[in-house]
């Protein structure tokens, strides 16, 4: 009997789950730091170390293409890459979050770790039910995270997120049941959808509503604006970066693999949604004067660029390997750069005292903190897709894969949209560099607010060097199936 237990410990599946188990155990350890009233700095750095060690453990995991538990889990390069990206997005907000937390820091940080557990499991899962459970653990954790803070605005943002999020959850469950009706299986594999049955179309619509909600795609975006605006800056950074990339990973898995036989519907749905999302996000952001809401609308527009990839794969099909590999590689490169440029921009708002941070509050920043001003300008330029930043190459490869797949008109629409977006990013830069300071005491300029922005700007520029590894990313792209 005991031998049976130890032989199970020696099996492959146990080794594959070591990072997740490690993360879970340390989640409880971080929570138990509350018993001894540990200072919040120690809790934060322990969380940072745990997330970093988990990322390293996952990095050294041996990728296999064989599936475990009847096709439920697969530990391949694609999943490893996305798991590391999402852990990094957690690490990015761990230390800056100290500013907004005043009590019970252990709850915040252990919730962050448990959310990361859900993210890692979702990255390795090929089964809709497992994906749903992991997705839901992330959702519930982020409801808790978004309510942290002192003011009523935090609670308002959290409540809005919670009520709309539960509705989206119901849609996912409905879609999953329709998927089961159409295919007879919850597993996502290339052969699962045999023919485009009406149930499959219904499942497609229900699932895009559910998962697109978390990604803030156009008709389901309004929660994002209010929640990012209402929550603490570091939590908004985590929502805009980590949980959006999680939804993107799931969308890539579900709609490219699970609906591979229904490519035409996927193509039409995602093309329409991405054009609407890009255009809406950019046009509304033009007239926004609230800095945080402007960044929120720009993150809606970024979701529009991200979902160009499922549209492209729906159009060209998965058999065209060269276009497919380039498209998926550009998608995973985009999501890496996106975390730093979007997360860093949201962390920048920590420097402003005003709760309703206006763009004009930033005026004259270049004279008071030149390094921070230049870093924020770099992040904004990366979001707009201007060269020398990682953001340029990310957009470049997405558009290149669109042209390679024959969707040049879609690439033109996306380029026009990113030209519009440059306008409102430049307006912020104009305020920072062109105007003189209005008030002297409207900013908190110390190391804890400045360093995260500067670090993310450095990484955003540094990531442009990573494009020489794009062929490596292309090998990871194949891991989408398996």
């Amino acid at each position: 009997m005991i031998d049976q237990f130890f032989s199970a410990l020696g099996s492959n599946i146990f080794y594959a789950f070591i990072p997740v188990i490690f993360l879970g155990i340390f989640g409880f350890i971080v929570l138990s730091l509350g018993f001894v009233n540990a200072p919040k700095k120690i809790v934060a750095w322990l969380t940072f170390a745990v997330l970093a060690v988990t990322a390293i453990l996952i990095y050294f995991m041996e990728p296999t293409n064989s599936t475990f538990y009847y096709g439920t889990f697969v530990f391949n390069k694609f999943g490893i890459y996305f798991a590391i990206i999402m852990l990094i997005s957690g690490m990015l907000v761990t230390i800056p979050a100290l500013i907004g937390i005043h009590q019970k820091s252990e709850i915040f940080y252990s919730t962050l770790i448990f959310v990361s557990v859900g993210m890692v499991i979702a990255a390795f899962s090929l089964n809709l039910i497992t994906i749903f459970i992991a997705f839901e653990s992330v959702s519930i954790g982020t409801y808790v995270l978004s309510s942290f803070g002192k003011s009523k605005r935090n609670l308002e943002g959290s409540i809005k997120y919670f009520f709309t999020g539960t509705i989206a959850t119901a849609f996912i469950l409905f879609g999953t049941s329709f998927f089961f009706l159409g295919t007879g299986s919850f597993n996502l594999s290339v052969l699962s959808a045999v023919k485009p049955a009406p149930e499959i179309t219904l499942a497609l619509i229900f699932l895009i509503i559910g998962f697109g909600f978390k990604m803030a795609i156009f008709p389901m975006h309004q929660w994002a604006i209010d929640t990012y605006d209402g929550t603490e800056n570091s939590v908004s950074a985590f929502l805009a970066a980590g949980s959006k990339i999680l939804a993107y990973l799931i969308i890539l898995r579900v709609f490219i693999v699970g609906f591979s036989s229904d490519g035409v519907d996927v193509y039409y749905l995602f093309v329409i949604l991405s054009i609407l999302t890009m255009t809406y996000g950019n046009i509304v952001a033009l007239s926004e004067t609230n800095l945080k809401r402007m960044l929120a609308y720009s993150s809606v527009a970024q979701a529009g660029y991200l979902i160009l990839i499922p549209a492209l794969i729906g159009a060209v099909g998965i058999s065209d390997t060269s276009v497919f590999n380039l498209a998926i590689a550009s998608a995973i490169y985009y999501s890496l750069v996106y975390i730093f440029m979007k997360g860093g921009s949201f962390l920048m708002i920590n420097t402003l005292k005003n709760e309703n941070a206006q763009i004009s509050d930033l005026s004259g920043l270049s004279k008071r903190a030149p390094g921070t001003a230049v870093s924020f300008a770099i992040l904004l330029l990366a979001l707009g897709g201007i060269p020398i930043t990682g953001g340029f190459f990310a957009k470049y490869f997405v558009f290149l894969s669109l042209v390679a797949g024959g969707l040049w008109w879609l690439a033109i629409i996306a380029i026009i949209n990113s030209a519009i977006s440059v306008f409102y990013y430049f307006r912020v830069i104009l305020y920072m560099f062109g105007k003189s300071p209005e008030k002297s005491d409207n900013m908190i300029l110390n190391a804890s607010t400045k360093v995260p922005v500067i670090v993310s700007a450095f990484i955003t520029v540094g990531l442009s060097i990573l494009i020489i590894y794009l062929p490596v990313l292309e090998t990871a792209a194949k891991g989408l199936f398996s």
Binding site: I2, Q4, F5, A8, G24, F28, L31, S32, F35, A197
Partner: protein
Amino acid sequence: MLDGYIPLLIVLVLLIAGMIGLFSVLPSLSEGRYKKSKGVSLKVDDIVSSMVREKGPEVKDGAYLETYESGEVARGEIGKFVTVQYFVIILLFVVFDIDIVLLFPWAMDFKALGILPFIETLVFLAMPLFIVLYAFKEGYMRWMK
């Protein structure tokens, strides 16, 4: 190709018709109850005029305005505050509840499953119990602290 969609379309139309019937026509018919002169009228004009609330319902008996028309007397007031302590107690109850529900499938086949599921169940039990310990230590179990 469209064959499969026709039942869906029919279901959709029936659903919308049913919704209209359930939420608009039936309540407006019941309002006719109190118009003593007319009674329940199924004429199209009367249905439409009561649907758009042209005249407004003539309410004569008090029971129509009660929360439960069946005769159950509602107690208390709607504007009363409920203390947030109830919420934490409910959450702790849910922890135990989920625990027990998930133990049933394992307990059904306890002997045949062997040692591995037993240890897994212990680990599974330890996780919610740790949360309960945390809640106990932090004083959430104290009533009205």
